[in-house]
Symmetry: C2
Subunit: 195 residues, 2 copies
Amino acid sequence: MRATRTPRAKRREQIVETAVEVFGRQGYRQGSLKDVADAVGLTAQGLLHHFPTKEALLMATLDHRGMAHLDAMNRAKPGAGFTAVGRYILQENLEHPGFMRLYITLSAEATDPEHPAHEYFVARYERSRELFMDAFRDGVQAGEIDSSIDADLAASQLVAMMDGLQLQKLLRPELDVLKTYDDAVHRLLGVRVGS
Amino acid sequence: MRATRTPRAKRREQIVETAVEVFGRQGYRQGSLKDVADAVGLTAQGLLHHFPTKEALLMATLDHRGMAHLDAMNRAKPGAGFTAVGRYILQENLEHPGFMRLYITLSAEATDPEHPAHEYFVARYERSRELFMDAFRDGVQAGEIDSSIDADLAASQLVAMMDGLQLQKLLRPELDVLKTYDDAVHRLLGVRVGS
């Protein structure tokens, strides 16, 4: 990468982080490019120089954290240890409540097949379930997870638990997401996660 | 109730059922009163005679199924049998996919404190959790549920599982919601629900 590209890449990252906050607070359909531009000190025209459309900015926003989550998955221990990835993602999202709201609102909006992020969310669900499923199968083979556990069902359950707890947190701020997740993993899979 | 009120009550119900479909397909913010009016053969003016505002129609839409769910809760067996209520609500929503989409989309949209349905969803979560929690405490006392189970955590987990599975179903139609729920209840609470 040439050094001259760095300021542009930094600017881009700043725009994406701001868009997460704006779309997270106002929703994608209500959030405007102008609000994002104002917050980073650009004109709307200047912003379009970095992202040609609102949809392009949306996808960059989703990819931004998606990359951090993918990193976590790649660093994860195989087998039962994989449940720690779910915990890490929840912890990350708790530290970025704007993104948590964006993610939950968009995944619901995107159930509409006409939504620009529909394919993204369909693929994301498929991939998350597969990663969990493979990890749980490894865990059963390694004797870390009880062999009565159906990896397919358990993967759907863990993904549902993560989504549902985040939605609930946004409506009930006093919910202890990590404690509830840890207990659910313990009961659903018979393994201990967390501190 | 006077017999002369019946046609009006019927008309009202027809409007609400149509609104569930329209808001469920297009979302509340995008769905229009005119689409609802067209579908039931009324003018927009005629519709306003039944519901003075779009927000009033939204609340009636939420109450409509909310009543069916409350009925189910009132008919439920105490203790562990209460998990059957969750199953019944899921089954109901699977039969009314328009409502399922409306419910999931709105609960996410309504995490915004400025949303007209915010208070409704906050109260609904509080009430659902309390009902599950009381039932699980009864179940522990009656010896139906293992005493190591924390009723507070289990209630949050069941509600999260129900929401998460419905969101997942909308993005992955092949998901067997009831089978996954039954297995989760069995693992989370040690009780059998379903057929």
